[in-house]
């Protein structure tokens, strides 16, 4: 596809369960970002992948959160032992590497509801 694709679009899970969220970036984009957006709130940075460099994990809120990316392709964000405060829209974005092309293209997000 032409844009960033996220799946699932909606996820309802029980408190304490683990969830995996998937992001397919735009082909050729070496940078990939995960953000969290709580209802009516701003974009909270979680993690950033750039090519083969070590990811910037400084935004992950706890050790229950982790993310992986294989090369310059798909990324998965995993939340273990989900809590109600994890309920939010999780947005993924990708961009071309550095230079003048820093525009980040966002997916439509995964709405996670923890009940």
């Amino acid at each position: 596809g032409a844009g960033v694709s996220q799946s699932p679009s909606n996820k309802v899970t029980e408190k304490g369960k683990d969830v995996e969220l998937r992001c397919d970036p735009i082909s050729g984009h070496t940078a990939l970002y995960w953000y969290r957006q709580r209802l009516g709130q701003g974009l909270e940075f979680l993690i950033y992948f750039q090519g083969n460099s070590a990811p910037d994990k400084s935004g992950l809120p706890s050790d229950r959160f982790s993310a992986e990316r294989t090369g310059e392709s798909v990324s998965t964000l995993t939340i273990q032992r989900t809590q109600q405060e994890d309920s939010a829209v999780y947005l993924c974005a990708s961009s071309l590497r550095g230079g003048k092309n820093t525009e980040a293209f966002f997916g439509q997000g995964t709405r996670l509801t923890v009940v």
Partner: protein, 113 residues
């Protein structure tokens, strides 16, 4: 130093009026300042961006004003329309590999017809 502070949190403007949203940053190394627009249920999309070597950039009804010495930048929407009603986010980053976009908390704009 990594924060970007955005104001106001919400804004109501009459159709045809000027909408102004302000942002301030601390990290003087930031060199790329985009604005993103988000409609309900959608991901944010790039609206307009500026680099610190210019003080103003205009694209149609949207203008970014940049004040490097004050470490502030603002978005001006001229002739605001109901279709402009959305949430606007400013952001900042280092325009090089290895740094993420840092976003402000957003401004919800409502343009009344």
């Amino acid at each position: 130093q990594q924060q970007v502070k955005q104001s106001p949190q919400s804004l109501i403007v009459q159709k045809g009026g000027i909408s102004i949203i302000n942002c301030a940053y601390e990290n003087t190394a930031f060199d790329y300042f985009p604005w993103y627009q988000q409609f309900p249920g959608k991901g944010p999309a790039l609206l307009i961006a500026i680099r610190p070597d210019v003080s103003e950039k205009k694209e149609g009804r949207f203008t970014i004003s940049f004040n490097k010495s004050a470490k502030q930048f603002s978005l001006h929407i001229m002739d605001s329309q109901p279709g402009d009603s959305a949430t606007y986010f400013c952001a900042a980053t280092l325009n090089q590999a290895g740094t993420a976009l840092i976003f402000g908390k957003g401004t919800t704009l409502s343009v009344s017809s």
